[in-house]
Symmetry: C3
Subunit: 421 residues, 3 copies
Amino acid sequence: MEALNKITELSYALDTFYFLMSGALVMWMAAGFAMLEAGLVRAKNTTEILTKNVALFAIACIMYMLCGYNIMYPGEAVNSVWPGISFLLGDDNTVEAVLGSKGDTYYSSLSDFFFQVVFVATAMSIVSGAVAERMKLWAFLAFAVVMTGFIYPMQGYWKWGGGFLDGLGFLDFAGSGVVHLCGATAALAGVIVLGARKGKYGPNGEVHPIPGCNMPLATLGTFILWLGWFGFNGGSELKISDIGEANAVAMVFVNTNAAAAGGVFAALITAQIMFGKADLSMTLNGALAGLVAITAEPLTPTPMVATIIGAVGGVIVVFSIVFMAKLKIDDPVGAISVHGIVGMWGLLAVCLSNDDATLKAQLIGLVTIFIFVFLCSLLVWYILKMVMGIRVSEEEEYQGVDYSECGMEAYPEFTDAPKGN
Amino acid sequence: MEALNKITELSYALDTFYFLMSGALVMWMAAGFAMLEAGLVRAKNTTEILTKNVALFAIACIMYMLCGYNIMYPGEAVNSVWPGISFLLGDDNTVEAVLGSKGDTYYSSLSDFFFQVVFVATAMSIVSGAVAERMKLWAFLAFAVVMTGFIYPMQGYWKWGGGFLDGLGFLDFAGSGVVHLCGATAALAGVIVLGARKGKYGPNGEVHPIPGCNMPLATLGTFILWLGWFGFNGGSELKISDIGEANAVAMVFVNTNAAAAGGVFAALITAQIMFGKADLSMTLNGALAGLVAITAEPLTPTPMVATIIGAVGGVIVVFSIVFMAKLKIDDPVGAISVHGIVGMWGLLAVCLSNDDATLKAQLIGLVTIFIFVFLCSLLVWYILKMVMGIRVSEEEEYQGVDYSECGMEAYPEFTDAPKGN
Amino acid sequence: MEALNKITELSYALDTFYFLMSGALVMWMAAGFAMLEAGLVRAKNTTEILTKNVALFAIACIMYMLCGYNIMYPGEAVNSVWPGISFLLGDDNTVEAVLGSKGDTYYSSLSDFFFQVVFVATAMSIVSGAVAERMKLWAFLAFAVVMTGFIYPMQGYWKWGGGFLDGLGFLDFAGSGVVHLCGATAALAGVIVLGARKGKYGPNGEVHPIPGCNMPLATLGTFILWLGWFGFNGGSELKISDIGEANAVAMVFVNTNAAAAGGVFAALITAQIMFGKADLSMTLNGALAGLVAITAEPLTPTPMVATIIGAVGGVIVVFSIVFMAKLKIDDPVGAISVHGIVGMWGLLAVCLSNDDATLKAQLIGLVTIFIFVFLCSLLVWYILKMVMGIRVSEEEEYQGVDYSECGMEAYPEFTDAPKGN
């Protein structure tokens, strides 16, 4: 009996440690988004996007602590649509409670909070890239408050908190829908309200490419995200402390990596065929597309199938980015394609390997998340537009938002062009 | 009995692994300091600060192995002020010794060494930023030898090695005082002996801002430090292998993150109010200030209180940086404010949440560390100044220390200005 | 009995988790190589080297899944030289199989695959730096297919898969030979077939240094590799779940760090003496040399001996880089010296601390790996040269391979020199 209790304690410690390490890896994704986005914008808008990324992470942590976590995982939900709200972070598990729970309580509830709080930051990071180079900083941060405190937790509750999407059999292992599609949808609403960057489209509607200023940073960001994704997907198994769970976590790691590899390879080939060059930015987006695609189900595919799911994501993302540009949805980093369009593919691809999935439930989940997040976000962006304005002036955009919003340059010694380059 | 012994072995393995992962995260902070500092200096002084950061880490590892560790954690101390010295790294624990220790020996002593050695490197990294852009490289490295081999271990012994500050009830969980205040104090002494950079102050004493050359690097450095801090604070619980300890480590992770978030938010708002702009460098310093502030006690506050402790740190750091500049203490990266002034706040803030803390003991600890480190450092800097000189010539400073100290440029193709820009 | 089975399950989970975390750290080394190499080439060749690094990682993952893993670790080998091939990734371990194995099966086989697959990517990353700035992207990727699918796994089988080198008593803990010498040898063959960069040698054979464009990136890459190496060496103990193994892993961490520190210090001093300056790129190569040197045996030396083994590596690498340049082996990042020459030193240094090692066996292993990899690689490079060509045109090299291979610049706003700078 003493031995069994000690084993329970040790299991609890291992699962908690696994959660904390996974959460730390997901937190690291914040750096990945910051570097990716800073690499893909122009030098004159770099300080602002860095500031946005640091600040949104802080806001996400504060808002999710204040109310988001309790909306998403309510102690006692009112019903399967409306979770209720309580504002305090609960106490942790005592030894007696854990031993008495017969295995139901097997990790620290604070480690769960830590793991979840970095997820909401990920969703919000997706938005920041799409609205880059022309949005007012403080309007963006105001949106972040609503998004991380309410919009994300609400739809998260419907699936992961035990709400109605979960009841319908909608499957989303680590969040192709709940995190990535959610973030991309909020971004899409923002881009529609905001409009394209000056100079992106010529007088006859032709698309002008605006190259990113620092490709090593973008590459670094992609590698950071790839690494962080092992925590994102790997931690979403939620348990590692027995043989079956350890095997499952290992499978999730292998498949996550395989899908990213498939995405890279497919996007590289697709870009070579379409553009005649090995386009680095498409290759990077291919890696991320592979990762997003496998996120809804990284456990049941074989590694070969995971590679293919990622590769399809890699092909989709190249076409989607080209198509979005033609639709005049101006997304400087391709976030809507990577996280939204490929997120949808990921949700549907669950049906390929998981027998518990139904196309119907996946579509209901996909449509529900999209419509709910799109309408809420559109409303919030419009309110912000009316109340404080969301777009910088034409003059400020020409000068670069670094100057107007942050008052400092990102690379004062490297770009000697006059302001407004 | 066989089962209980196996459980003891497994606990030992988990605690050791937790220590090693924590240590790896702290080692990663060395990269964070290197990137932060490289981002905040001018292009012409970048190679030198990178060289310093790599070299100081190596020196810290070697000196701490040779004598520092044994000074700080003596097998048999002479008394509570003087630890004695022994130069060899001891053997590790045998199975018999661990099983016979009744739980006293619960992790590999080499994993403890690994965790401790990366801490001393952190303390030394703090110094390097403050003296940037005008110090001789080899004088700095000579100081690093004394600091990491003797000064840091000596005051570390007084608290963590079981010396007199520990006996007095001084509390410092992960080192707001022992690491951060210590490093900042050595930096302060260095800056005083060294003097301000040419061009920092005008003829009438007005302060000229000298912007950093690469803000994405500075942001990356901050994110690296944020991530590494989960090892720094999280590992300082020293044990994770039962329910109570696992909950404690989870609380430390949550509070560390919450304090950083609070620091970001508070510094961003403070800077916006004071300067009318969302100042990125202040925001980054706010994150670090939040982290430093919570480091003395990341376990007992609730997450909300931790956020507030971090936020106060974020406000303090903005005012402190402005104030230091006025005092003509020229600290290019704000290290003295972030680690020193906010480190003091962290030590005092222990009293807010930990009933075992007394303001008296905290003040004694704070003052002891400050005076001891300041006087020792001042002495060492003066000796170095006399023996080899610590400041480059005016001509060399104008050209950039990269040229005089390292013979190479950091960005030879990006800055086409003549030498001496 | 129930308790003992649960302990076995928990041990299995801990060892699997340790493998997965180690593998994640090694995966992170891919980012390290990408940043290191991007920092050490010229701006006009940066996009291409980033593309190569991302793509080779993907190719390594796919090829190793398809056949490499099964060649290297065959279920039933044909004999000790020829492993046989099977193309599918096997199933994972069931609870029954694990409990029935009496401890032989103690971690998830998929976690082993994950750990191994990131190793093969490391070997391939070594090649990419040496052939930088003049090789055709697709020729390089074609080589990567053969290298990661066949050449690396074949010689890996001879040691780690239980082949004839293992039988001869050749010792190589984590791959100074199997990974680093192997990668460097393939690189050497490539450089010989490819020839030096235009402008590297003057008409009278004098060596022109070509400085890297971004030293902070190179430094970041080095720190990433240093961190990742804790997974590379630390994970190669393969087990952590009892006292002896936990102590061993801790020793590996401490020695890995000590050797890197020794390498930094020795290379810094050597460069200062030889060139009169604290050469950063030599210092970084010193860190990597220390790490490569200790990789063949990070367990048996004391930390002091590990520091010395690393320091010798640091001295060797400085002389080797200078010597290679004189031999007209043009290796822009010093990869052949760091991983090849120092890898050889690492293999020989095993004899210093491990009584089971014999100089004869170490030399046989060294020579076998070198000759096999060199001849295979030379053949493949020649075939590629004939079939598709491996070198860009003189005009393309002058313009930079970013333009010809990837169609985009890495830093479009920082380098305003005309194409062909």
